[in-house]
Symmetry: D2
Subunit: 497 residues, 4 copies
């Protein structure tokens, strides 16, 4: 038994040693099963956030919202819950688990009642000037009920000098900096927007002639919807139901267009392998990473073993390129309970074994080439290498399908503090190899990664993707960060609600 799971941060991450994306979004306009389709779309996007999910629908008279902690499938398949979300338009959001402060009030979509009617918004990504704007808004008399940066957008919409909701939405969006894919619904419109640099993905699809937006194509596939195109960077698409029931679609630019730079980590780790991001199969990109990794860093070995689940496609590519057999040397236990997240110390000591076990028959006496998608803090790698050695491996060589991570992300990926990153803790690869206990350790090159994804080397003058975690080359300014230290306290209120 083996598996091929979606990457993305996981609640049961005992070691805090993975990166986490923080959201997925889905929206549909004009379909009688709007809420059910949104629930299904969010289920397909579950890998982008497992903490909580929310849906807002509009039934022609009233907006309805359901927000629940936990998986989409824990709540939104309940007929009673779906019945509370009537109407032919809906947007939904699935969110990653962060801390104990997490509360329903922070679960998106967020809603505001405007003089011109209601509006709900949800987004994936992060604003690099969110805190700065929040402070300005509070100084201006706004009351922020959540600690979510999405609420800032809502306040900007509410306070906009424009009358029309579309104009208000655009007015607000233009003030936001960072990487985001945002959806909104009003009484007649479904609006989608992607940040000027196009860091976070957003696709447009269609089902029964009705427009759909989703973070990834896998959310279209699950409901049998047709992929239309990517929403472009800096683009705002406004879909509106007309009085006759027809739907108009208008595309506008947010004004500050720049070259698109999609986040490379979507390819390395976050997106589902069956998704097509920026026109490229994620699965193929990952296999290519493995192929390029084998070319750049060959090693003699008996078996190529993926670190499940993220390393599996790259391991397959590595095996195909190298001619060394691909074998499941590590078995993943899928039944990690929901409260394994708060284990006793004694159980915590079993660490990685709660999730993985060595398949001794494929390890014992063998030279093992372990292929992983990335190394963040290295604590998991250390434990896995130890587990492989305990199972009798003669040699353990680790190959990583992404470059070394040196810098934090500010666009919706939850990265540890800089000094916790393995690459910042050791002088060179050999020292890192020694730390994790491997006979050798190698990372794919930046160009190797660029070629795997886009077919070409990195263009230093105008990089095709954003790769700041590897290079420090941030695609936007970082206003919040450059200002006063924000600390962790967005709010002075600690609440149970």
């Amino acid at each position: 038994m083996s598996d091929f799971l979606f990457p993305g941060r996981h609640d049961d991450d005992l070691d805090g040693d993975t990166l986490h994306e923080e959201c997925g979004v889905f929206g549909i306009l004009g379909h009688p099963d709007a809420a059910t389709l949104t629930a299904l779309g969010l289920h397909a996007l579950q890998h982008r956030g497992q903490e909580a999910a929310g849906i807002v629908s509009f039934d022609g008279t009233q907006f309805h919202t359901e927000k629940h902690m936990g998986l989409v499938g824990d709540h939104y398949t309940n007929p009673v819950t779906l019945a509370k979300l009537p109407g032919n338009m809906a947007i939904g959001h699935t969110r990653y688990s962060t801390t104990g402060e997490v509360a329903l009030r922070n679960v998106q979509p967020l809603f505001a009642e405007l003089e011109v009617g209601g509006i709900a918004v949800a987004h994936n990504g992060n604003f690099t000037n969110g805190l700065t704007l929040r402070r300005q808004l509070i100084a201006g008399g706004a009351i922020c009920q959540s600690t979510s940066d999405t609420e800032v957008v809502l306040h900007l919409i509410a306070r906009s000098r424009y009358t029309n909701t579309t104009d208000r939405f655009i007015d607000a969006i233009r003030q936001m900096e960072g990487g985001y894919s945002m959806l909104g619904i009003t009484r007649t419109k479904l609006i989608a927007a992607r940040d000027p640099t196009g860091i976070r993905p957003l696709v447009m699809g269609e089902l029964d002639g009705k427009p759909i937006f989703a973070s990834e194509t896998c959310a279209l596939d699950i409901i049998g919807a047709k992929f239309i195109r990517d929403v472009e960077n800096g683009e705002i698409v406004i879909c509106e139901i007309q009085p006759d029931g027809s739907i108009t679609i208008e595309a506008r630019k947010s004004g500050n267009a720049q070259p698109e730079r999609l986040c490379l980590f979507e390819y390395v780790y976050f997106a589902r392998p069956d998704s097509v991001v920026g026109g490229r199969s994620v699965y193929v990109a990952r296999k290519n990473m493995g192929i390029n990794l084998a070319k750049e860093h060959p090693v003699e070995g008996d078996v190529v073993v993926p670190v499940p689940d993220g390393g599996t496609p790259a391991a397959l590519g590595y095996a195909q390129e190298s001619g060394i057999p691909f074998e499941y040397g590590i078995i993943r236990n899928h039944y990690v309970g929901r409260t394994f997240i708060e284990p006793t110390q004694q159980i915590r000591a079993f660490g990685v074994k709660l999730k993985h076990s060595a398949n001794r028959a494929m390890i014992e006496g063998k030279r093992v080439i372990l292929v992983d998608d990335s190394i963040v803090r290295g604590t998991t790698s250390l434990k896995i290498v130890q587990m492989i050695r305990d199972a009798g491996a003669k040699e353990v060589h680790v190959r990583v399908a992404s470059p070394m991570i040196f810098y934090p992300d500010f666009y919706g990926i939850d990265t540890p503090d800089r000094d916790k990153l393995l690459a910042n803790q050791y002088a060179d690869v050999d020292a890192m190899a020694k730390y994790i206990g491997a006979d050798s350790l190698e990372f794919i090159s930046i160009d190797g990664l660029y070629r795997a994804v886009g077919g070409e080397d990195r263009n230093p003058a105008r990089p095709q993707f954003t790769d700041h975690y590897f290079t420090g080359d941030y695609p936007t300014r970082l206003l919040d960060k450059e200002g006063e230290t924000m600390g962790r306290k967005v709010s002075v209120l600690a609440s149970n609600g």
Copy 2:
């Protein structure tokens, strides 16, 4: 406080035939056990609202809030919960049960983060211009997250042009109309305010030299605090901790002073009998009502039977004045479960019997004088008279310790629609007696009630109390009501959170 959304229905009232006050408040400044004392105070005020309770504390750095549906004792005696409310200042609120729409977001105190720091407010009562202000605020770009009218106050504070929180609070309070007793805390202050007419009660007390405010004196008694004085109508009392730990107390007037007119229903029904409201023992007032009722409406009978629990003191007064023995002819079942609120139709048919049963030994063959505190719709009276007759009463005479109710309340008492009030459905007392099945029915006179409470007849030129439900003489203008019909929809959002 009132909930804009569902001013009407109450789940635990099988017959929908009682009046409900909607809140109690409690606050304390400078005491190390602030949250525990607040929990105890709210427990003593539980009769003013059983749906939900909230507490906000401030620990010198951060505000903390806990909000829970259910009784105070269900949650706030838990050491874990209390430990989440550190600090030496706290305010709390207990709220009446309304409907399924009720959500934590509506549970007070409500909190806002201001540029100058946080503020939390809670109130008992209702604003007669709350909806009007809410609409103006939304037009001005405010986002209302709750359907509670308390949030209006918070927005007015947040948007006030004043810098100082006290000034902002007063600025906001001066814009509010209606009947209310409000508490607020900031980082250093506990602020209390009572409406200009003094419709809702609010007392000031002291424990270990620390100021306390509470809706009724019974909340002082439970913690052994000393009663200081009533907060005056139109008064704002600001208590502030100074850097040296001492507490200053400053009293200000909201500006539009008017003669005090306490709500008579506090004496008739709402306040706890052991409380002293406006300097008068509630228990004594109620006994006096029974005495005056016996004088105004004597009748030959064998036993005086109270309708529990509201009618008991008046029945005692009636018995003492008339010389007819007081007996428990009706036994109340205290174990009404929490889900009797959604009974099957079959069980609903048992109606009043779930709560009351006839004590046949005191009823059979007797001429029974039933004494009740009030009659609203009359549906319960009808069932109780029937139950008494079924138990073998020879005659049933009903005597009511308050006058006939003709008009709705707009100051925090939840009244049925006008045409549901018994007094508006029948031409005269005889027709009403016939409807409820009584051999005779009599109500105390307005003057009889005034004398029972205050010792003097009603002064028509300047009534000593507010009695609008009996007389239609409202003590304030009713802006929301006079404007457009508010309907039931305050918000276009239906939410599960």
Copy 3:
């Protein structure tokens, strides 16, 4: 029924200073609304046990059972729950709250599948040879799943050499000693049995021609059923549905007939005042206790104040006999939350005040005569007297409507250890008065109590009631107690289920 495991502690009793009866039973045969009527009957019997309730019904093919912790009204008014209890025959049981060890497996009725069909039984009371029989059964290969002594009866039925369920039931009942009222249902029968001495009450009623059994008449009243007669001591009544739908009723004697001796504490404390027990109104008996108490122990005073709720009828009798005004000097708070059962130490210190408060207007400056139904450990009396003094009483005289309690009960009343009883801790009444802080303390005499209940003095040769807690005169042998020390461990298993 009693729980072998924890005969002692009660969670909702902050002071551990009251007596507790442990159960109520209700059964009906042949009525289409059997489960609903049983739920209503149990609701009326809620005062006999608030921990948990269970119902078993039979639908002609299958038995159905629902068991839930908490109040009857918390669960059995839910249409979904009632729908799971189809059939025209049912028995139900409500049980007193004991401790955390309490588990659903101990909630009655208990069920056994016999070769001849299923049988469910439930009882109120306690077997004085239950443990002895349990040990014999286990030695004989029986497996006991609960720690309830009711299971012993079930095993005796299952192992009986008789074929017919009635004969098996009688065979089992004849082996049991103690005080009990037991109900059972089989596929066609509803069986009721009362212990030979008639210690626990059990009445027979009728609704729409269908037989009903219940612990007290108040359970008949709530559903409008007619009282037929008491089940006699030592009587077994077998009601059976015949193939034509008619119901036959057969009365048998368990064989060892003895004079009836009803438990006096049913009159003093347990039964609802509106019930008629042994042909006598409980309310009238309690008033008589107050009258006799006033005759035996008059005292000068200004007000007669009942300790709510138990002391109220006696206080009324005392007041009527003495001519001193009856006043509510103590107010009871009905909103004691469900988790006040685990208060912080700080809150526990507020002790009695969570439940009672002094009505200062009726206390201050007065000579108060407090009337209570009984004194067990005296700890509550001490706190109440203190509270009355704190409210300004000039004198406090305590009058108790039952004699001093010296001995434990073994028939279903949960009594503290002997040395915890106030009467065993002090040499005389004056010392006890001093302990509780009263100016005087007096108890009704045994003969005064007998006259209040039955009209005659105690017949020492053949007492009309059982009064062992006052006199040590136990009406049965006490096999378990006389044998080896039972200790606390009935089972060697500690379980979460």
Copy 4:
């Protein structure tokens, strides 16, 4: 273990189209962390049962049990829960999900208090004479509280004429027929037993010198325990702590020894790939199945795609043998929420898509060879083939790593009714291929499977494994089945507890 009541339905199986094993067991003696190690062992055995888990420990004085619905990790990592399981000996059980009738009373281990002390037992497998014995026991006066067949063993132990618990255990075991692996603990002993034919697996291991038993070796691996040997068929191993703390181990035979015939489906489907069952690596056996399948049923194709997760190792073997590339053409969604078990009809229509999605990049335009472990009803195969076609496959060839299933299992595997099995619904493989929509469909031969697992063809005279689901050759008599129709009703009681 099997549940008599609901042998069939599985909630989390949207299509009801998989086989389910019903349990895993784990036990340890003499280790201070007994309960924690048992929880970890059960976690590793979670794939054998996800409905509920229970642990019983003994602390030298008292037995302790915790039983919880849900995953091991949901409950048994909680320090509070583990603290309730003190002692140095424990056994645990994890159980498969069946239906809503499932109740804690059926969760193993089951416990009985004997005159000689307590005993707890748990087993994996099923008794083919369990119902027959149950009826005899009830006729003999036993009361069965669960519908679990394990309780039968407990009654036989309780009623055994032997004194010593070991003798009682063996006495009971000898009366049981079927396939089972059973563990028991008494005050000093850990006992393990495997059925005479050795249908269900059971291994013995050791940690820090303390004996361990577990269903599979993966439960030893997770805690770093050493594998000692398989418990033999018909063997009973008794481990006992001696007064000096040393542990004695005694092996006995249950008496009716027969050649071992392990269940082939352990290799095909149930056991974890990293386990070693009967001395053979499950992973290697599965790869061999793929290799033999490729030899027996080659086909031209572009990609070999596993049906996740069961088909993955066989697909890898098929790819290696055929030289056709192995690719992840189907992606599995691991985030199937807990309440997807009760989907709306609308969501149910999305069927297999909730769990699987096609990876279009590897499917479109290709000749796809799908490899699955088995086909039961064929409904899932049909949907997966359709999904692959919808993703653009040119051809779809299905290869199955086990033979056609014609017969039900009676040894602990939950099989659909015979007429629901695909192999019984169609005349031949071509008709079946047509039904599921495949261009071709082939199954491995019986001999091919035998060679893959054991290296040799099936020995018809004395088959090395049990393969009754393929051949109808049951290794034991089937007493319950041959007697009266057992129907669905084991008990006439429907219960919520």
